[in-house]
């Protein structure tokens, strides 16, 4: 079979568009979560829709898994290859097909980078709102597949709120068109369903995004706190005051120190937390709101506040936050990025528990959050070369995710499940939900060939794990043996 697959693929693609040697496959062995690795059978880099279609049809015929891949910046192992699979890279689908200024849309191929869209429309005073920190590298196809967020999604929404139309290929190689430039689409909201589907339901081959007018002005208020609980409460107070910030972010002391050492942006390094709150819009609205923001943060106990006085300073305030990941990366050989989301009111409590576990495990944690929407990114510092440390880190991470579910939150706010959080899915969902997920999967892909083994754990796996998702007071999976 492998020989037949190979020779058939070779007939469909030019030589340069088919990678099979170990050396050529190496760069594809993992995504941004490099602890999970594997080489695929082959990597195909189609240039045309017809090529993509025929690769998929061939794979279906030969029962070969297909793993779509954008830029490989995913943080959950979603694009990680398996040895029986063909990786379908969308790297050559990299054209901006149309910018429609009147309707404020851009239609692009899936391999176009997130930031490239905003760059292409800046001359019209427009931009594409979702701004994951990886936006210089990640692709819009990957963004759709993960339903990615960014610093500004509290006000402007996630990817799903900013996409009007999609074209995707089913595992039969059929091209399906959803929506367009109108505000809503006909039939079921399959468009929404594909967002965050992690390559399990279809291969996205074209995306029409909504463009927004650039705000006239933006200003940031940076507030320093000597106590992390007060900072957590301050975040709730801003929202309760009726303000919808464009961004509302928070960092703890370890993250602040790392960011300051790395980027030298003038963060005070002796505080427990920094809250960054941005408002944007028309100059008048921004002036009104930024004063209110400052008053609320001061009222919540900030020891100091600073308001950006110009664009340069605004960017400087953000620079430290934006550099937080690489900055923390310098503190230890490795770090493990968590992505749980919790109700904001539980922030202080969850942070305390994480700190206690950090001591118990002997693993430092730096906390960076999209605080406005409760999306936490605790970064656990470890050294993969030390025996047992990765396992310890993963055990710590799982505890954090379980805690997120316990306080009414979720195991992943924006990075997705991939292979990484399959076990945590057993905590969040019960048998009936998992079965429904598989039923949905089967509706799109009856042979389960699209990115198999990702995003949704099998019932068997959950049972083996013995995870007790207690659903309506019932024990999960009573029909399955426990090991």
């Amino acid at each position: 079979m492998p020989a037949q697959l190979l020779s058939s693929l070779a007939k469909l693609l030019p030589e340069s568009a088919l990678l099979t040697s170990e050396e050529a496959l190496r760069p594809y062995e993992c995504d941004g979560l490099s602890v999970y690795r594997g080489l695929p059978f082959a990597v195909a880099l189609p240039e045309t829709m017809e090529q993509a279609q025929s690769i998929i049809q061939l794979c279906k015929q030969l029962n070969t898994p297909v793993i779509a891949r954008g830029a490989g910046t995913g943080l959950a192992g979603g694009a990680m290859p398996t040895k029986d699979a063909v990786v379908l890279s969308l790297a050559k689908f990299n054209q901006i097909i149309e910018v429609d200024v009147d309707n404020r849309t851009a239609t692009v191929q899936p391999g176009v980078r997130n930031l490239a869209i905003s760059e292409a429309v800046v001359e019209h005073g427009l931009y594409y709102a979702p701004d994951p920190s990886s936006q210089i590298a990640c692709t819009i196809g990957g963004n759709v597949a993960e339903n990615s967020g960014g610093v500004h999604c509290l006000k402007y929404g996630l990817t799903v709120h900013n996409v009007l139309g999609l074209k995707f290929l089913t595992m039969d190689g059929e091209l399906i068109e959803l929506g367009g430039k109108a505000l809503d689409n006909a039939g079921y909201d399959v468009l929404a369903l594909l967002h965050g589907s992690e390559g399990l339901l279809g291969v996205i081959v074209e995306v029409t995004v909504k463009l927004l007018p650039k705000p006239e002005m933006a200003q940031v208020c940076m507030a320093m706190f000597d106590d992390i609980e007060k900072a957590g409460q301050a975040v709730c107070d801003v929202i309760a005051a009726g303000i919808v910030p464009a961004g509302l972010e928070m960092m703890d002391s370890l993250a602040i120190q790392a960011a300051e050492a790395y980027a030298q942006v003038g963060y005070p390094t002796d505080v427990a937390a920094i809250v960054l709150c941005e408002v944007d819009g028309t100059a008048h609205g921004v002036n009104d709101y930024i004063e209110k923001v400052e008053a609320v943060l001061t009222g919540a106990g900030a020891v100091e506040t600073r308001i950006s006085q110009n664009e340069e300073q605004r960017l400087q305030f953000w620079a430290g936050r934006k550099a937080a990941f690489p900055a923390v990366g310098r503190l230890a050989p490795d770090y493990y990025c968590m992505d749980g989301t919790i109700p904001k009111a539980r922030l202080a409590e969850v942070l305390k528990q994480i700190a206690a576990w950090s001591d118990a495990f002997g693993l430092p944690v730096a906390n960076v959050f999209h605080a406005g929407d409760g999306n936490m990114h605790p970064l656990i510092l470890y050294d993969a070369n030390k025996a047992g440390e990765l396992e310890k880190t993963e055990a710590f991470g799982k505890k954090i995710l379980e805690l997120c579910v316990q306080v009414g939150g979720t195991i992943t706010g924006e990075h997705g499940v991939g292979v990484e959080k399959l076990d945590a899915m057993c905590v969040q969902f019960g048998k009936t939900e998992l079965e429904q997920f598989f039923a949905i999967k089967d509706a799109f892909d009856d042979k389960r060939l699209l990115n198999p083994g990702k995003a949704v754990p099998t019932l068997h796996r959950c049972a083996e794990l013995g995870r007790m998702h207690v659903h309506n007071g019932e024990l999960p999976h009573p029909e399955l043996d426990r090991f």
Binding site: I176, L183, G187, D189, G196, P213, T282
Partner: protein, 356 residues
Amino acid sequence: MADISEKLQQQVMQAYENDTPLNIIGGNSKAWYGREPQGEPLYVSGHSGIVNDMPSELVITVRAGTKLSEIAGALDKHGQRLPFDPPYFGEDATIGGTVACNFSGPRRPYAGSCRDFMLGCTMLNGKGEKLRFGGEVMKNVAGFDVSRLMAGSMGTLGVLLDVSLKILPHRLAEQTVVIDAGFKQAIKLMNHWAGTPLPVTAMCADGNLVYFRICGTPSAVERSMRDIGGSIYEDGKAFWKDLREHQLDFFQSDAPLYRLSVPPAAAFEPLAGTTEHDWFVGWGGAQRWLKSDVDFAVVQSYAQKLGGHAKLLRGGDREAEVFPPLAPALMALHKQLKHSFDPKGLLNPGRMYKDL
């Protein structure tokens, strides 16, 4: 204010056992919408009440039978609202029915639609299994996004038991201004202002006037009014409410009412056989209503030419299809999805499409 989810679950399980089609009824305020309802009534309005109201989280969780008016009242107490501005179409309108129809009001292009604010739901599938998807937090990518899929599925995929929605604060000030303009000019004007950062939160045109609603801080509203020009429309609040509820004179007609969803800047050329008086343009150009006896197929192909689609909103032949036709592959996918939730096809059969 009661939790009758167990009773509802029993009823759906019973129906599954006996192959009984069910007609899911909330406040019964939208019985006129979609194809003709069929099946034994399943009354959900008794399942009502606010389960969790979390102003500082910007989240509210309510049972599906809760009246929109009750939700609006509760949110208003702490200066908040449902951002998508749902039409009621009747005092008894419930949130479950609103989500099932994915109905959103004049604010939709600028704030988002009902589905955009769905964070989670508990539902019964066609087998009577109780399922919970999403949650009460703003960002959540664990598992397929079934909550959003439920919005607009017309009760054909499941019975909603409760929904969690993102909420937003009221704006501080609001003003409506009007400018004389025919449809063509109105569409140009609306798209021009939509392309600027001014806090416009509703725009529509009736063929004589174009209406702009501006919301924000008092100074931002004042400055936007200066930029846009025109004259103040005194009774703005009532106007937008009447538009949302289809109470304007335009909507008082016995002719079938079509609703077109098109790219907002699509040029206005009245369809052959209609006059400008038969049209009303909302959502800054993206939603256009037509009252006319013209054939649905003709309206449909007209909408498609503009890059959108049309549905028969009110009146007309509800035995035939009323929603936009789907390409064969997409329809096949719809049937498989329907089957995955409701294998015996018992939930609101035919309410959305004949074969769903």
